[in-house]
Amino acid sequence: MQASNDVVIETRNLTKVYRDFWGRQKVRALKALDLEVRRGEIFGLLGPNGSGKTTTIKLLLGLLFPTSGQSLVFGRDATDVSKNERLGYLPEESYLYRFLNAEETLDFYGRLFKIPRAVRRQRTFELIEMVGLDWARRRQLKEYSKGMVRRIGLAQALINDPELILLDEPTTGLDPIGTREMKDLILKLRDQGKTVLMCSHLLADVQDVCDRIAILYQGELKELGRVDNLLKVRDVTEIRASGLDAQAQQEIKAVIEKHQGKLLSMGNPTSTLEELFLKIIRESEAHPGRRVRGEKES
């Protein structure tokens, strides 16, 4: 009970096949995905272009219907509209009405929620401030640059103060400062107790903010786990020397202390996510079809 309460997103054997007009199979975009996202974590979906990340998010939102399997959000079926009360979604590109201005946009989306008028006004004001667009609040979105639209897109996703936020490639189109702000914001949202599911092909994004990640490749789940665990290389110890065991390390420590020195660092080195990523792709090309199911790490 406790555990199921903590699971915000669950997919079971989720599969999506895109078909053309005549019902012929075109792309198997997602193959039997099993995932669980728990309350309060930042979960990253990582994978190269076309690996099925957006498809997963759309299935979770009920924008697409699964070919087989199931996706549950807050324990409800993805096609249930009532789940939308508690979530926010930032699409891949910001699909907003270009004939509205920033205020109108937020007010319009706000009106779709059961929020009192005063609160809606207040939030509209704060969110425009937060995404740094108060100087352009009365300008139509068609006059905005891509990054500005992206910011309004983010504000619109937060208009209902959601518990769960789905971000599809949140940093594309943002300048370096915007990217940094976006990452800080994601961390801040987590600190407020919200759950974030983001997908990205940018390794740096995920590495910086995510608690856990899933790596998708050609619609298959290749790796799943805590970022720090995945990146830790256990059988290598990073010391500025080689050929030393624990005993020797202890001895070396002792030796350092004995000589009134100070140990700066010693431990397992981390590989970069990029290396992990490339390794997975190499492996899956060597052994196609291998994938992880569920999670086995501690």
Partner: protein, 609 residues
């Protein structure tokens, strides 16, 4: 100028139509359920299909029951914003240009300018508004799906029902405002277009009657000629001015001084823009030439058979039975000369006068009588001359004299229970009168013209809402251009719906589609029976299936021309509340299923495809 179809009393209409509606609706729902169950069964088996259909059904109930006005209004607001962005106001510019051109081409001096002007503005507005409604509603949602802006919307807690309803309401609001402004512009255009004045100087009048001391008592003359007509003016001894009816209107006159002379200045035309409220007969029956009751009159070979004919110089008669002919309805104060009976008869001649010029052909003599309820026999009121399809007003006096000299009160003696029989006979042998129930009616009073014009625009409004609903419905599952075509197809089908219904019911001469084609190819005429045999049987079988399909289609399509009151307004007849209510309900009867269908299409589609 008569309206050629009869209107059924409201409750009578409602009870039959409602049952019919429920039947059709039930059929459509059943077909949809079975059809979708079969489709899902093909993919996933019968059990899953059963559960699927059941869930969609229960979701539908929830999504329709829990529609929130707040979200519908938000969606409607968006639709309004979108329309403004698409520059719907351009329609005004087009309308203004149309009016400008019309100002040149419409001739206010023609014999029925009011009808000309009114049908023009009504037609122009309805085409413009319907076109606008078509484009707005059919293109909006597909554009949202294509731009993926809908993704951001449907991931908010908004139901598909609210998206469809909001769009319908939003575009309706935009259309209503546009239509309202265009109606005002039309009103001004018509009134100003028809407006003209005449004048006549007192000096130009000549005395027609001298009283003993030589002072002229009554003087007569003609007004100045404007719009190709002039009015006869009579001034009596006390200075009262009377203007004769000409070209369907008269003027109020005021006397003024100009250069030391009295000049009669005419006001704006009156009696042209009217809304006559007719009191139709409940029933029309006939007597044959020997005076016996007959179902119908004679058929003189009129292809439509709408009117029946009675033979002149015989006992043949047409008898209209009116109800509710009471002093309350026709008070003496408003109807001092009697009850005005307007009649428009078709005159069928077996020989003509000297020339074929309609102006010189004398009218055909007829007699007008009222039935005596005691004897069941007619009492002649007066003779009249009828010209083909000319609207004539005859007054039935409040007191009628019988041939033996008794005086009968119209209300007390002839219509004691409000039922009054009006008999018409043709007196000249070898000539015929043709008539239908709606051709003869009492003119109780005139309704306000501007109210009637507003009702005319209400008819256009109903058509517009239907177009918006149908367009929005198609746009939930078709791409923009296809939705546009489908909506247009439905509209055209709607205009021909009655014909299709007749075709489907096998009521059209020459058989069904295939049989007609066969006749066309083999050049057989429509009356000749096909020779019996296998070929004919097959043709008839296919036709039966096609006819059934046509019948179903025609029952599903709105009879679009029925929603238009333009004919009434242009011909100067009041649009009765009954007619307006029937049309309003009829469009609602289409809108509800159309909306639900739109909702279902949107709900069961993948928005992100």
């Amino acid at each position: 100028m008569v309206i050629e179809y009869a209107i059924v009393p409201f409750l009578e209409w409602l009870s039959t139509s409602f049952v019919y509606w429920l039947m059709i609706l039930g059929g459509v729902v059943a077909a949809a359920l079975i059809g979708s169950w079969l489709v899902v069964t093909l993919r996933h088996g019968p059990v899953v299909a059963f559960r699927c259909v059941g869930r969609v059904l229960s979701d539908t109930v929830v999504d329709l029951a829990l529609i929130a006005p707040r979200r519908v209004l938000a969606m409607a607001w968006l639709a309004v914003k979108e329309s403004i962005r698409r520059r719907v106001v351009v329609v005004f510019a087009v309308f203004l240009v149309l009016l400008l051109f019309a100002g040149w081409f419409l001739d206010p001096a023609s014999s029925e300018p009011a009808r000309l002007y009114l049908s023009f503005v009504l037609t122009a507005t309805s085409y413009l508004v319907l076109l606008l409604a078509l484009f707005l509603s059919a293109l909006s949602l597909p554009a949202d799906i294509k731009n993926k802006t809908l993704h951001t919307v449907v991931t908010k807690p908004v139901r598909p029902s609210e998206i469809v309803l909001g769009r319908i309401l939003g575009f309706t609001a935009v259309g209503t405002v546009l239509l309202g402004i265009m109606a005002l512009m039309s009103y001004v255009f018509v009134v100003r277009g028809l407006s003209h004045t005449h004048q006549v100087a007192d000096a130009d009048l000549r005395a027609v009657e001298q009283i003993d001391d030589g002072e002229p008592a009554i003087r007569q003359g003609h007004s100045s000629r404007v719009h190709k007509h002039r009015h006869e003016v009579t001034v009596d001894a006390s200075g009262g001015v009377r203007v004769e009816l000409e070209h369907g209107h008269w003027h109020d006159v005021s006397a003024g001084q100009s250069a030391g002379e009295t000049v009669y200045q005419f006001g704006p035309p009156r009696g042209r823009l009217v809304a006559r409220v007719p009191v139709y007969a409940r029933q029309l029956r006939f007597k044959d030439p020997t005076g016996e009751d007959a179902e119908e009159g004679v058929n003189v070979g009129d292809e439509w058979g709408y009117r029946s004919f009675i033979r002149g110089g015989s006992l043949a008669a047409a008898i209209w039975t009116f109800e509710d002919i009471t002093t309350d309805r026709f008070p003496k104060s408003s109807f001092p000369d009697g009850l005005p009976l307007e009649m428009t008869l078709e005159v069928f001649r077996t020989y003509k006068g000297q020339t074929d010029d309609p102006k010189t052909i004398p009218g055909i003599l007829g007699s007008l009588s009222v039935g005596d309820p005691k004897t069941g026999k007619p009492i002649e009121v007066r003779l009249f001359t009828a010209k083909d399809f000319a609207t004539d007003v005859q007054y039935i006096p409040r007191q009628v004299e019988t041939p033996d000299g008794r005086k009968l009160d119209l209300f007390k003696d002839l219509a004691p229970d409000g039922r009054l029989e009006v008999w018409i006979r043709c007196i000249q042998p070898m000539q015929y009168f043709g008539m239908a129930r709606a051709d003869v009616y009492f003119r109780a009073r005139n309704a306000q013209f501007w109210v009637n014009l507003a009702k005319g625009y209400f008819g256009i409004w109903l058509q517009m809402v239907l177009v918006i609903g149908i367009g929005a419905m198609y746009s939930t599952f078709l791409s923009g251009p296809i939705a546009l075509l489908a909506t247009m197809g439905t509209l055209l089908g709607g205009f021909f719906s009655r014909f299709m219904g007749d075709l489907g019911a096998g009521a059209v001469m020459g058989g069904g589609p295939i049989e007609s084609l066969y006749r066309l190819v083999t050049q057989k005429n429509l009356i000749q029976d096909l020779e019996p045999g296998l070929k004919t049987t097959v043709i008839e079988m296919i036709d039966h299936v096609l006819e059934y399909g046509l019948w179903v289609t025609s029952s599903l399509l709105p009879e679009f021309d029925r929603f238009s009151f333009s004919e009434h307004v242009a011909k100067g007849f009041d649009v009765s509340g009954n007619l307006a209510a029937q049309c309003a309900l009829r469009s609602l009867a289409f809108l509800i299923p159309v909306f639900v269908a739109g909702y279902l299409f949107l709900k069961t589609r993948e928005v992100a495809r």
